[in-house]
């Protein structure tokens, strides 16, 4: 059901772990939905994300989207990272099953949540960044049709 890329990122997740004393950290999702993502970032004085790590509780897609998301933002500026959309995440993984697209939204949210934390901690305002929902409810149409 998953692409090779997804399986690779699930089985060999990149940047998995914690950062001691990170610049910021964001956690999104909830256990009810079965997905929680936490993203740590180290951002230098130039606003460049020079390290990022994640931890994820969730399905294969959740792990893979977290993993790829860290790759997508690493080395980028805060502003560039903000432009990493869920679509970019899906594309980078060569696609996700319809039921799992919500995981990519969660990954996007996780980036935003970390950046929000960064902004708050540093008392700055990042153009275009909204306070992320702490709770992601994204039930797919197909799921409702079912029964």
């Amino acid at each position: 059901m998953y692409t090779k890329k997804v399986m690779d990122h699930f089985l060999n997740p990149r940047n998995m772990g914690e950062i001691e004393n990170p610049s910021c950290v964001g956690t999104v999702g909830n256990a009810k939905c079965g997905d929680i993502m936490r993203m740590y970032m180290d951002i230098d004085e130039n606003g460049i994300i020079h390290d990022v790590k994640f931890k994820t509780f969730g399905c294969g897609a959740a792990v893979a989207t977290s993993s790829i998301a860290t790759e997508l933002v690493k080395g980028k500026t805060v502003e560039e990272a903000l432009k990493v959309t869920n679509k970019a995440v899906v594309d980078a993984l060569d696609g996700l099953p319809p039921l799992k697209v919500h995981c990519s939204l969660l990954a996007e949210e996780a980036i935003h949540a970390a950046l929000w934390d960064y902004a708050e901690k540093n008392g700055i305002k990042i153009e275009g960044l909204k306070k992320p929902k702490s709770d992601i409810h994204d039930e797919e149409e197909i799921n409702k049709v079912s029964y």
């Binding site: 089985l11 997905d35 509780f57 969730g58």
Partner: protein, 392 residues
Amino acid sequence: MEKKIYLDNAATTKTKPEVVEAMLPYFSELYGNPSSVYEFAAHSKKAIDEARTIIADAIGSESTEIYFTGGGTEADNWALIATAEAYGQKGKHIITSKIEHHAILHTCEYLQKRGFEVTYIDVDESGIIKLDQLEKAIRPTTILISIMFANNEIGTIQPIREIGEIARKHNVLFHTDAVQAFGQLDINVDELGIDMLSASAHKLNGPKGIGFLYIRKGIRIRSFIHGGAQERGRRAGTENVPYAVGFGKAVEIAMKTMKERTKKEIELRDYLIKRILSEIPYTRLNGHRTRRLPNNANFSFQFIEGESLLIMLDMNNICASSGSACTSGSLDPSHVLLAIGLPHEIAHGSLRLTLSDENTFEEMDYTVEKIKETVDKLRKMSPLYEDFVRTR
């Protein structure tokens, strides 16, 4: 294909070669339509009747009380919908449990849209129905109690005899979804006071796509699928002769081997349970410790999510499931695990292993090792585990 360890026999089973053998003549040789008048068709009719007799004997009913269906789900739908339609004049109240299969629950929801009221009885933390709540739920308008024989996820066996007695006492019909129990447990519909019973061939090494509904003589329900006069006018559609024969054969084998087979399964199961509970911390066994299906083990591993566990086990050639097969595409955690009181995040981290007597102790050992490794790996990845360790 690489050698795999198949531990998902509650989802479906291998059709036994003997069963396939028994079916084969009815495809290209004795292919007559059982409803036809010529002698050639009599072979088909006889074959179905023999299968029906084998099945009837297995549950202690008359063969005229067994009606073949296109599977367990159809049997469940039929029992509920046709009872509602036949007895709707008497009342519009149905009682079931919170841990039924979706074949029951979604049919109940459908009936609710058609004006029926459904009470969903709670279960205790081991998954056993609350009998006092059940009895109190009965109203003058209650027409049916439908409680599954044994649960497909956590394996818990219900006190069917007691439910049968309550139903009798209050003059309410009693249906049981025995899809998981049939072939694994002794069932006698008279002794247990069962009025209707659903079963499915593919759970006991028969083919997928045939089941039956037992309907006690005298129950006035009509057909659910309307058309020709097949199955004594109660289930229309050209009979699936090969599968009926295969179902009969599978039941014959299952009955003959039940004692020995389930003994072996229980040994494997208990070994598995013992090792997993003692070797992996923050793990619980779901379902009742002893009143459970011989081949069912269901665990929750705290801090991790089930699907990723499954996929990693699959990478190690272990076929297992989390929740029931037909909802594994869904995002919701198992309604059964929630009903026994598990919090959401623990319900999400469940693993169901359902054995067959073809499994071995070596396979159990390998499986335990792989589960240990994987749970460990996933916990290292889990923010929930991180938080837990921090605050410990």
